[in-house]
């Protein structure tokens, strides 16, 4: 069996799994097309995130554990781009908030300038702390009242600065841009230090982004969540009320309710596939180009690449920004799919470390591997729970009815997820470190 055959079969395997999920309710399958499409949609998004991480790790050897932060920024972009404009918010405090943020940025920039251009010594410390303290006080003085007045507007539904009222699809590239901007800032400070430090810095920034999203109510309503975001596809209820659709559903032999849900989800799947294929094509082209070869040369031997006149830190920054932008796009797509922004649900185990498992299992350095890993691991992430319950039922079958241990085991089966993912990661790292589809 050739390599290509084997790799195609792996993809076919994932496809068959998802088809089985729709067709049969044998063992851990649910036999519902809705559930199959839900898995497929999140699988596609996971695959895109995995491509982003693979670009950073597989192409350039950068260890980014802040994926959750970039994903969340993508989600924020959806809120800021697609929700309707709230004129009252802008007239009452929105402008001041923007001004305050500009003031804050200016303070930081001038602090950086001072450290760069003033000679080191007591005077520099003095000027620096004076600028920082004055900047902070001015920032808070403008910011606090403005936030208060924005949050006072219709707090049950809005209380934030609202969005631009643009089509939601525009939010996807916007999410990428937002994530790219954040990545540039982090990369500027943390790249060029040793690899562990980038990991810790990205871990920190992701936590901070989530903290900001949870607490800054004026931005995206914080933990009060933004629900009912605009959708690029029609609502199920509207479809069910549409006589032509009901007729078409009848001709497919489905009842209108199921047909409408499947129709919408399949629509999303189609859109996500288009984005995935486009990004995959671009990543593939980049990998094969002289630029991609340069990246891999830097990854394999930084000193040699530097000797050839390559600016390693700049190239690292470039690829860090690109990979993070892809994660931002995926984050925006995910928020669009959920049509709600819930900062409380971002969890690093699910949004950062699971993506890493996908990349390592799929095969780091290979874009197809990343896509395969994304789809496959997502399927297992969803299905480990029913599998665990099945397993526990099997284990506890012999135990006495109503024993405490049995109850505990059955109840805890759903926590098998993390354990299984860790086990998969360790096994792959140990016995097949190059992954399912290795780098060529």
């Amino acid at each position: 069996m050739t390599e290509t055959m084997k790799h195609t079969l792996l993809f076919v395997f994932v496809g068959v799994m998802i088809l089985l999920e729709g067709m049969t309710d044998f063992l851990f399958f649910s036999g519902s097309w809705n559930s199959a499409l839900v898995i497929l949609n999140m699988g596609l998004i996971s695959a895109i995130m995995a491509i982003g991480v693979n670009i950073q790790w597989g192409f350039a050897g950068l260890f980014n554990v802040g994926i959750m932060g970039f994903t969340a920024l993508g989600g924020l972009a959806v809120v800021l781009v697609s929700t309707p404009v709230i004129p009252a918010a802008w007239s009452s405090g929105g402008v001041s908030i923007v001004m305050a943020l500009v003031m804050g940025a200016l303070t930081v920039v001038s602090a950086v300038m001072i450290t760069k251009f003033m000679p080191a010594g007591k005077l520099r410390m003095l000027v620096l702390s004076a600028v920082m303290i004055v900047g902070f006080i001015v920032y808070r003085a403008i910011f606090d009242p403005a936030v208060g007045s924005v949050e006072a507007i219709n707090p049950a539904l809005q209380g934030n600065i609202g969005g631009l009222g643009l089509p939601v699809l525009l939010a996807w590239p916007a999410g990428g841009l937002l994530a790219a901007g954040a990545a540039w800032l982090i990369g500027k400070t943390a790249l060029g230090l040793r690899s562990d430090y980038l990991a810790i810095a990205t871990l920190g920034i992701a936590e901070i982004i989530i903290a900001v999203l949870k607490n800054e109510d004026w931005l995206s309503r914080g933990v009060k969540n933004v629900v009912g975001l605009p959708r690029p596809l029609p609502y199920e209820v509207d479809l069910q009320a549409d006589p032509t659709f009901v007729e078409r559903a009848a001709s497919w032999g489905m009842d209108p309710v199921t047909a409408s849900t499947v129709y919408v989800k399949a629509g999303y799947a189609l859109m996500f596939t288009v984005v995935l294929l486009a990004l995959l094509w671009m990543a593939q082209m980049a990998l094969k180009s002289p630029w991609g070869r340069m990246m891999r040369a830097i990854r394999d031997n930084e000193t040699a690449a530097e000797a050839m006149g390559k600016d390693v830190t700049r190239r690292h920054l470039q690829i860090f920004v690109l990979g993070s932008a892809i994660c931002g796009i995926a984050g925006a797509m995910m928020t669009t799919l959920d049509s709600q922004m819930t900062p409380g649900t971002y969890n690093p185990l699910r949004f950062t470390f699971l993506i890493w498992v996908m990349v390592i299992v799929g095969g780091s350095g290979n874009n197809f591997g990343a896509v395969l890993g994304g789809m496959l691991i997502w399927f297992f992430w969803i299905k480990v729970e029913p599998m665990g319950i099945l397993l526990m039922e099997l284990v506890t079958a012999g135990m006495a009815e109503g024993s405490a241990l049995k109850a505990h085991l059955l109840e805890s089966a759903s926590h098998m997820r993390l354990f299984t993912m860790g086990l998969i990661l360790l096994l792959v790292l140990r016995f097949s470190p190059r992954g399912l589809i290795p780098e060529k």
Partner: protein, 336 residues
């Protein structure tokens, strides 16, 4: 009088919590820094090791409580702690044997070790959730306060009360004892000296006949003990929840790096620096300032620099500043 009140308020809300949180961070950071010094990688599973140790201790504490054992005014968890440490040591040695040793023999790059530690983190996290569940657990018992706010007010006649929880006092005392023992061990015993030698110069240590596997084994045992103690103290002082322990990773790493990765004294100093910055920046200074300043200058607002939810941002900002200006940390660490 007002000045005294200000001082008491400051001690009550800033110094006492800062000291106990700092001790917890310092113990955690010591574990991270030892792993970094001897095994040369950043251990992402450390937070979950703490959670595992605390979990074993909690389960035993419940067992002891139901058996009627108690430590008088002190929490029962202290009795269970040695057994918790033993359990964690067993798990650590097992992990090292089954997971890390392979990569040591391969001489894998540090970043591979970090990735492997991610896998271990997942497994431990899953294990803890599987056994004890993801929810909050409280296991503190015994006397609640060394000195409560009311007694203090009565004793001194001041308006401000000073409350010191038993767990806070216990944390600081335990941390001092543990650190003293650790430094005695590292500086005076043969094994400790061989550990430091191995950390300073691996080749030279091997040349002089130090057995690397033994050094690694002792390191894991010490780290397991430190992690368990830190985890239990944190759980006693606040509460036990697996996810919080995972989130402690960031301040712990920040402490270790600020002090200089691989340097034990640095880890302790780093722990207190991070803890006090977090507490002072997120504390609302209104009360202290109202007492301390003359009437006319008394502040209107809360005088809170950042809301408490941004405490991660504080440790992170300190971390970035240190990385930018002094990448080896305040006390010379190994990392560049």
């Amino acid at each position: 009088m007002d000045l005294l009140n200000a001082l008491v308020a400051l001690t009550n809300y800033v110094i006492v919590p800062g000291l106990s949180y700092g001790s917890q961070l310092a113990l955690g950071a010591l574990g991270v820094t030892l792993i970094y010094g001897i095994l040369r990688f950043s251990n992402f599973a450390h937070g979950d090791t703490m959670a595992f140790g605390a979990m074993v201790t909690i389960l035993l504490t419940w067992l002891f409580q139901s058996a009627g054992l108690s430590a008088g005014p002190l929490p029962t968890a202290l009795l269970a702690l040695p057994f918790g440490i033993l359990g964690t040591i067993a798990l650590m040695l097992l992990t090292d044997r089954t997971v890390y040793r392979f990569y040591r023999q391969q001489k894998a790059k540090p970043v591979i070790f970090v990735m492997v530690s991610l896998g271990v983190m997942f497994i431990m996290n899953g294990l803890v959730r599987f056994i004890i569940g993801p929810g909050d657990q409280r296991f503190t018992d015994g006397e609640r306060f060394v000195i409560s706010a009311r007694t203090f007010k009565k004793l001194t006649g001041l308006d401000e009360g000073l409350a010191i929880k038993t767990t806070e006092a216990l944390t600081v005392v335990t941390a001092v004892i543990v650190v003293a023992v650790l430094f005695w061990f590292l500086n005076k015993t043969r094994t400790g000296k061989s550990m430091r030698a191995y950390s300073d110069n691996e080749d030279l240590a091997l040349l002089s006949g130090i057995n690397p596997e033994r050094v690694v084994m002792y390191t894991w045992m010490i780290v397991a003990a430190l992690a368990t103690i830190a985890g239990v103290l944190y759980g006693l002082d606040k509460s036990f929840k697996p996810f919080t322990y995972f989130q402690l990773l960031l301040p712990i790493f920040a402490s270790a790096i600020v002090g200089g990765l691989g340097n034990p004294i640095g880890a302790i100093a780093g722990g207190f620096i991070i803890a006090f910055s977090e507490v002072t920046i997120t504390y609302a200074w209104k009360k202290v300032l109202t007492y301390g300043l003359p009437e006319s200058l008394a502040p209107d607002g809360l005088v809170q620099l950042l809301s408490t939810d941004y405490k991660f941002a504080v440790s992170f900002a300190i971390l970035i500043v240190v990385l930018l200006f002094k990448p080896t940390g305040l006390f010379k660490g190994k990392a560049v």
